[in-house]
Symmetry: C2
Subunit: 500 residues, 2 copies
């Protein structure tokens, strides 16, 4: 391992900083033609423990004005490349967490540099439009050529937002508006509804609910938080809505080896979900929509079978509830399909699919009937950020030209196979390896051991993230190739071997 790290340090020290250390635009544009392979480092290179002395000193500076309890270390984003995150102390780490799964094609991809150095894009960056009222002339073209070119089947419209929480908040509103229109049989609220809505009373503010799942995570604003059920620290002390919560299947992995017992568990959860929909309708607080992640990420990388999701979609439809798939973390390619829910093979498409993170812009795709027919019902000042659309369009091109979906499938197979081998090698430490594409995870014996493993791995040049109580989630960028997967497994193995 040490030899490998040294090799990385040496070989990359011979490589000039191609992209960003130069002092002008020209040099940056020269790099544009290059592909990621030409500029990426060949391995991690560690100089200090992480956080190192410079990170620690910056943390002291920052803590005077801001919470630094969750700061891991400070980064040198100019020096980071591809799958490698460089910190301010000069440590270079293989990044298998990618800013909480939000870097799509690695650091400083030449295609994204091109966006920045194209003078035709300057105006878009400097002048942020109120996209809903005064969009730039190129907005329709960029939306149609970008976001809409990757729209899930059956969803013909899109609404951009600034972040994942705002995407879900507004998707929830779209669902409630759709449901009330359906209930009243037309789209025109009564004067009484209008009057009471302004003062937070019914019938204008109806007692509708959303069904969510234990272990689900949909964001931290107050509407989203009512459907998030992961860690207490995210929810405690904050008022919320009393909405129904169904159990999410607790399955055994690998799923294909435990089909019988897993399908019993899934049947139990589906039955409870349907029961809740029926009961809450009887209570006069009907379920307007069902919201679920294709894989519960923050909640511990919990999977359910594709059949579970198909049946849940059927239940939602049967009871007239909207079906919202939250792809904020799963969307954008890391499961081996652009949208994780494409694995399910739904006959009837989802009604709304929300996204953010790797998509760079937040937002949601929707069926026609979920678009309010009046202006300003779904609205805010910025409605996203057009510059993120520009970056996204380039990301989509790179995914196509570099065949990244195939790469994800290939490196995902290496990762998962490697994790199976590691859990066989360390059965007292690791269990429940699971994954779809490179969207993989493994459970560690307990929370303390997991946290200690994360730090050991980091000090060996591997950035990972936790999820659930004692899981580790792997979230590489889409440019994570088979060779990166092997390197990851190598370092991860070394870190595990050091655990008591």
């Amino acid at each position: 391992m040490a030899a490998c790290l040294l090799r990385g340090c040496l070989s990359s020290s011979l490589r000039p900083s191609l992209l960003l250390s130069a002092s002008g635009c020209r040099q940056a544009s020269e790099a544009v033609a290059r592909v990621m392979e030409d500029v990426e480092y060949t391995g991690p290179c560690m100089k200090t423990e992480v956080p190192g002395p410079i990170s620690k000193s910056l943390s002291k500076q920052l803590e005077v004005v801001q919470n630094v309890l969750q700061v891991n270390f400070f980064c040198d984003y100019d020096e980071s490349r591809g799958n490698y995150l460089v910190d301010v102390d000069g440590n270079r780490m293989l990044d298998v967490y990618t800013q909480i799964a939000s870097i799509p094609i690695g650091y400083n991809h030449p295609a994204l540099t091109k966006i920045m150095t194209d003078p035709m894009n300057l105006g878009a960056f400097i002048n942020r439009p109120a996209l809903g009222m005064l969009p730039p002339g190129k907005y329709p073209e960029k939306l149609l050529g970008g976001l809409m070119s990757v729209a899930p089947r059956g969803l013909g419209r899109v609404q951009t937002m600034a972040c994942g929480s705002c995407s879900n908040e507004n998707a929830y509103k779209a669902i409630f508006i759709w449901y009330r229109n359906k209930q009243r049989g037309h789209n025109i609220p009564s004067q009484e509804e209008e009057r009471t809505s302004v003062i937070n009373q019914g019938p204008g503010c109806p007692d509708l609910t959303l069904l969510s799942f234990m272990g689900g995570f949909h964001g931290r604003t107050l509407g989203c938080l009512a459907t998030t059920h992961t860690k207490a620290i995210q929810k405690v002390d904050v008022p919320t809505f009393d909405w129904p919560i169904a159990p999410y299947p607790q399955l055994r992995y690998p799923l294909e080896e435990h089909q019988r017992e897993n399908s019993q568990e899934e049947a139990r959860c589906l039955e409870q979900a349907e029961d809740l929909i029926v009961k809450w309708a009887l209570k006069g607080r009907p379920v307007a929509g069902v919201v679920i992640e294709p894989i519960q990420a923050e909640g511990g990388d919990n999977h359910a079978s594709f059949d579970f999701y198909r049946k849940l979609r059927g239940i939602a439809k049967k009871h007239g509830c909207a079906f919202l798939v939250d792809e904020v973390q799963t969307g954008g390619g890391s499961t081996g399909k652009f949208w994780a829910h494409e694995h399910w093979g739904l006959d009837d498409p989802a009604d709304i699919v929300s996204f953010s993170k790797k998509m760079l812009t937040g937002g949601y795709f929707l069926k026609d009937e979920f678009q309010p027919d009046k202006p300003f019902r779904i609205f805010n000042t910025w409605l996203g950020d057009h510059t993120k659309n520009l970056f996204l369009n380039e990301v989509i091109k790179v995914i196509r030209t570099e065949n990244l979906m195939e790469e994800v499938q290939r490196s995902g197979r290496v990762m998962l196979q490697g994790l199976y081998e590691l859990q066989a090698k360390y059965p007292h430490l690791l269990s429940r390896a699971r994954g779809l594409g490179t969207f993989c995870a493994v459970d560690v014996r307990d929370e303390d051991t997991r946290n200690s493993l994360l730090i050991k791995a980091r000090n060996k040049g591997l950035v990972l993230g936790g999820c659930g109580t004692s899981s580790i989630r792997f979230r590489p960028a889409l440019v994570f190739k088979e060779r990166h997967a092997h390197l990851f497994l190598d370092i991860f193995n070394d870190a595990i071997a050091e655990l008591k």
Copy 2:
């Protein structure tokens, strides 16, 4: 008027497109040394009705995938300069609405171009960090030199967010957490609280409330929406919290000419606010915080006296409620002070001040005791966008070097005096002219007349926005000088004169 417009068209047609029409970075950087005066147009120049044919055609393209009901027209942001917004049909308009009050120093200010063309900033734009976990090395310096350099007195900490709604949502959470810690006498939730919070039940999810005001606007996500009481269209059909709502003073303008009756009205509102705080505490649903705008903007540009706000702050303190000032629209200089609430002369500072729009990044300033002492209580993936901090720092420098706060006071005086004269000239059409700095408004006879006036003004090259039922709000950028104010009044007068 026609002569004036023609003059504008001619003179600017002699002026090459300095900033953005060139084909490389070099030309853009040459422009950096210039100030806005050198590159701005000298007046509006109208070629078609607005929206013109190209805007209409783009609208048809966009409506296939997105709601276009609220689209005014499509813009050419590359060609826009300073106070002038150019549309895709080549119409050049004096912009006194500035993307719903969110453009701080006009379009394409050379100082902002500089940020974009500085290769040292490339990495910040291309690689969006999870700011709470992996901030860039320059983050503390940029935060201390930028946001913290304009922090309101008494607020020593800042939390960035992506937009105004997220800023308020998280400020609300900070208030609830602070209040519960105060109630229980320590910062450690019980196991019962932790357990129940995850399933949306008390005591973990407490029945706390926020006091807001009729006519207030604090955003459109579900938490914010519970404190927003402006238009039914923003709220109807969406479930909400049953929280107390106090009346906001309905005053006569100019405030200084109606002090006695206004102060009676304010006393009535303050009494009701205090009554609500007492009553809701007795109901077991205590008011954890009071949230208010310094001027109700979306709700109709409603002002209250500085004394009203000082007294309200006192009431909040007396009853142990946090005092949150929402400066999303008023913050950043347009009232003639950087923060509108600085006009009040509070003895005891506000507890939290939220911002967005002209600040380019969202977020809130807070007193120490409003920062949770545990990680991940106030958190999300991006926690804002560091590139907006880079722009903001430059905006703050420009405000200082170009003495923009003084300019705002000067042009604000011209605007308000001009509005007084116009309402004296057209008493059957205009009333209640009011303003602080350039943050001015006037009421129009009725909603239809207001809407018709907005369109007439636009076709004469003046972009304005409505608010409340029949008001027009004026929201120029900080680079709006006295000559722009005169030009604005000139065109506005012409538009009014055309009304029946």
